[in-house]
């Protein structure tokens, strides 16, 4: 065990934890932020995606020691009022069914849109193929990412 300081959503957390523990469990069980999900534990499903210094990472395989000193953003910290363009698009298109995978989907999509403000279907498929949705909301994910891109561009121009 070791003393570890984590910055999650601009808040400092002092943890006494195993540095080998995946970031996912610190976020969920220690910081109590339950929006980030456990799906597979082996970086296959994307339910646990968070941002670490702006990059999308799979928190289920990211050791705590690697997250120390970095800025971690979870779904709870993506926007103040559930109004990031991706979140708004998800709401307009009514993407989620069970909803369990969508924290990860949204966090992945947010990075895609930052790096590629106008992605094609192929770009979306490439960027989102790491996120499984068992309810099969994929077509709506594609549609919502296009919509979010439009919204983002309007905001940028506006």
């Amino acid at each position: 065990m070791a003393n570890i300081t984590l910055n999650i959503n601009n808040k400092e957390y002092q943890l006494d934890a195993d540095p080998q523990m995946p970031l996912l469990w610190a976020i969920r069980d220690m910081a109590g932020l339950k929006g980030t999900k456990y799906g597979c534990g082996v970086a296959q499903c994307g339910a646990c995606v968070v941002h670490m210094d702006g990059e999308a990472v799979r928190s289920c395989v990211t050791r705590l020691s690697r997250a120390e000193g970095k800025k971690v953003v979870t779904i709870e910290g993506l926007s103040e009022t559930n109004n990031h363009p991706v979140q708004q698009a998800w709401q307009q298109v009514d993407v989620p069914q069970c909803g369990y995978c969508h924290s990860g989907q949204i966090m992945s999509a947010a990075v895609l849109l930052r790096e590629n403000p106008n992605p094609s279907d192929q770009d979306i498929d490439d960027a989102m193929a790491g996120n499984i949705c068992r309810c099969g909301t994929y077509l709506r994910i594609r549609k919502a990412i296009h919509l979010a891109a439009e919204m983002q561009q309007k905001t940028a121009k506006g």
Partner: protein, 735 residues
């Protein structure tokens, strides 16, 4: 999932009627967390009545009955509706309020939805399966909303001393037409609650609906975009510990001994206990590691050394299972499910006949939220929180297994991160309850993905032998024998009857036109636990029946769509076929395009799908487009239907072309998504969904979109390539 037809088949089927137990309104409000003066209505079933009766909460005690599907309106006009069913993505959280609010005349943003606790004496059956919530409850819910509305209108009329006919309700208010005065529902509930219940309220016509039939956004979406929706995995209760359990990888069997010395050295590990959980009629054993975090519990589990006693049951492998099914179908006639005419005689003397075998794999539910459950054992009572599809079954099961009075077992539903049938099982809550009792503390048991994937129960693997004769362009004989595990037999231990789902998926109008037909079930057992999987036997039967119809059509030299028109004389099905033809461009197909279709029936709804395939530049077959037409009769939300059909198709693509559960030496081989591959965004073609408009009895929505996918796809591949695929899953890239 399948709602039992015969109650005696099942050990734990809830009693559908309500016993005469009194419920005091005060107690109910206390339990439900609602306070204050309000109008509260529910409905109840008289033991001898077919239809539910609506009753006021204040009268429930006098009547000595239990109410269900409560609607409450408080003095600020806020409406609370209890959902007695689980929300696992299928949209019940939206459908129930959308139905009630329509007749109640309130805006959906005035409605708050609360999950009811498990109690089938109060809420009726809560098993969320068989795509049954709307189709079984909608008439009662409409009546409930309308009754409350009429009472509120009457209350306003009384206040204004005006005739009721001059008043009407809209948007949570009652208006007085002549004077344009209005009162908010909140101002009327006290008065309304004192009124007599109106009888025979008039329901709106479908053309008058403002909410029903509209693609309104789901009420739970916003919580699912900012991480605030609470799934079982997210629930926390004070002083809760975490547990991970090492269970027998051979699905059955017992713990012989275990060494926990390494486990106990792991920081955070608090205790290690042996645990037993009921799996319907059998038990499964494991060793639970209890810790102060999920991670520590999982680490502790890895360090365990368990010796299993695997005696007393066979350690099977997939090839052996299918070889035995195949042998059985070669030699046995099986138990007759349906017989008309004499197909055997025709087959015996036919010069030419089709005799083919279809094969479908075992499947894993693979909910994105692995199983988990919180239990808090407190001596004389037990409370459960979790992603649970059948809270009332959990209550009954645990009460019986742990000898705790039923009313002292409190079962709370959270949101479910997928269910698909798996979370209608009582094993994981029971296990959590036993661990909590053993350690005398509240505990959350978290299943790893590997636990979830390798422990079953699974959709049973099936084999179908289909024989047929075509004469003069028509079906002269049609004979289907199926072999595969029977979920009912496995659960109840009762054998000797054919699988009651032997024709699930097959359209009934075929019985009217195929004169010589037989369907039988060749009983088949393994020690592998099996369970409902989305659309249940229709998901496998549909592949066999609708592939075989296609083969017969081709044998008859007929266009597969025309052939189905010939045999499916039902008016609704004819309209459905017309729609399929219209939207898919079936007739205007080009060369180098393969078109396939299938129509199946599942939980009172009929779905037809057309699949278009072609070859990539590299020669590999790809799915270009999918059209689905759903006839589910009276429906609530077309956007939900579209979403459910899209999702069913995606799940169908996975089961047809990507994954299967295989067994080796009695163990499930694939334990995570690295080898148990899932359909991903790049596997999904464009899908167009159409919903038939009619006012027939409502059918299911969550499952019926799945069964037609596999046969429509393989029929399309045959059309393109001349290659008939009879075994699932198959690899599209290798066709």
């Amino acid at each position: 999932m399948h709602l039992p037809l015969s109650r005696s088949n099942l050990l734990f089927y809830p009693h559908p009627y309500h016993t005469k137990m009194s419920l005091s309104r005060r107690n109910f409000l206390k339990v439900s967390g609602l306070t204050g003066t309000m109008l509260a209505l529910g409905y109840y079933w008289k033991a001898d009545a077919k239809d539910a009766e609506i009753i006021k909460a204040t009268d429930a005690e006098d009547f000595g009955v239990e109410l269900n599907a409560w609607v409450h309106i408080n003095t600020s006009g806020k409406v609370t509706i209890f959902s007695h069913r689980a929300e696992m993505g299928q949209g019940v959280y939206q459908a129930i309020p959308q139905i009630v609010a329509e007749e109640l005349e309130v805006n959906l943003n005035e409605v708050n939805v609360v999950f009811a606790k498990g109690d089938n004496k109060k809420y009726g059956s809560q098993i969320t399966g068989g795509s049954s919530t709307v189709r079984t409850a909608y008439k009662n819910l409409l009546n409930l909303g309308a009754t409350a509305r009429e009472m509120l209108i009457q209350a306003a009329a009384n206040k204004w001393n005006a005739p009721k006919t001059d008043c009407y309700a809209e948007g949570g208010h009652v208006y007085h037409r002549p004077s344009k005065k209005k009162l908010h529902y909140g101002e009327l509930v006290v008065e309304a609650a004192k009124l007599e219940m109106p009888k025979n309220v008039v329901l709106k016509k479908r053309s008058e609906y403002k909410l029903i039939g509209k693609p309104l956004p789901r009420l739970d979406t916003w919580m699912k975009t900012n991480g605030t929706a609470v799934f079982g995995m997210d629930k926390e209760i004070p002083n809760m510990l975490y547990a991970a359990v090492e269970r027998n990888p051979r699905l059955r069997g017992k713990v012989k001994s275990f060494d926990d010395s390494a486990t106990r050295r792991i920081p955070g590990v608090k205790d290690v206990v042996k645990v037993k959980m009921g799996v319907f009629s059998t038990y499964r054993e494991g060793v639970a590691v209890v810790a102060d975090s999920t991670w520590a519990a999982m680490q502790g589990k890895k360090a365990l050394k368990v010796v299993w006693d695997d005696s007393g049951f066979e350690h099977l492998s997939t090839d052996v299972i299918y070889k035995r099914m195949s042998e059985a179908l070669k030699t046995k006639e099986g138990l007759s499910f349906k017989k008309q005419g004499d197909p055997n005689i025709i087959l015996k003397y036919a010069q030419k006949k089709l005799d083919v075998v279809y094969e479908t794999p075992y499947q894993y539910h693979a909910c994105m939220e692995p199983l988990n459950c919180i239990a808090h054992y407190q001596g004389d009572k037990l409370e459960i929180w979790g992603p649970i599809q059948a809270p009332d079954w959990v209550q009954d099961f645990i009460s019986k297994e742990m000898n705790i009075p039923r009313e002292k077992v409190i079962v709370n539903m959270t949101f479910l991160g997928g269910g698909f049938g798996r979370k209608a099982f009582m094993d994981y809550p029971h296990e959590a309850a036993e661990i909590s009792k053993a350690i005398n503390a509240p505990v959350q048991v978290v299943w790893s993905r590997e636990d979830d994937a390798t422990q079953g129960p699974y959709r049973p693997g099936m084999m179908y032998r289909c024989e047929g004769v075509v004469k003069n362009g028509e079906i002269d004989a049609f004979k289907v024998r199926l072999a595969g595990q029977n979920n009912d037999h496995w659960r109840s231990g009762k054998k000797g009857e054919p699988n009651r789902s032997a024709s699930e998926g097959f359209l009934k109008p075929y019985y009217e036109t195929i004169k010589n037909l037989s369907i039988s079930d060749v009983p088949f057992e393994t020690p592998i636990p099996t369970m409902w999987w989305r659309s249940v036997y229709a998901s496998t039967n549909g592949f066999a029946y609708e592939s075989f119809i296609d083969e017969l059509a081709i044998e008859a030299g007929k266009d597969p769509m025309e052939f189905r028109r010939m045999y499916l004389k039902d008016e609704r099905v004819q309209k459905l076929i017309d729609k399929m033809e219209e939207v898919s461009g079936w007739k205007s197909r080009k060369q180098n395009e393969g078109y396939g279709m299938a129509i199946t029936e599942c939980f009172e709804s009929t779905v037809g799908q057309v699949v278009k395939v072609s070859r990539n530049a590299d020669g590999k077959v790809k799915i270009d487009h999918l059209w689905a037409v759903m006839d589910c009769g009276w429906y609530v939300n077309p956007d939900t239907i579209q979403a459910q059909v899209e999702g069913s198709i995606v799940m169908g693509i996975g089961a047809a072309t990507i994954h299967q559960v295989t067994f080796k030496d009695g163990k499930a081989v694939d334990n995570n998504f690295s080898t148990y591959q899932m359909p991903r965004i790049n596997d999904i073609p464009p899908i167009d969904v159409y919903v038939m408009d009619n006012e027939e009895q409502a059918g299911g929505v969550g499952e019926p979109g799945l069964p037609p996918l596999a046969p429509a796809l393989t029929n399309a591949i045959y059309d393109l390539t001349g290659k008939r695929i009879r075994k699932l899953p198959f690899n599209l890239a290798e066709v």
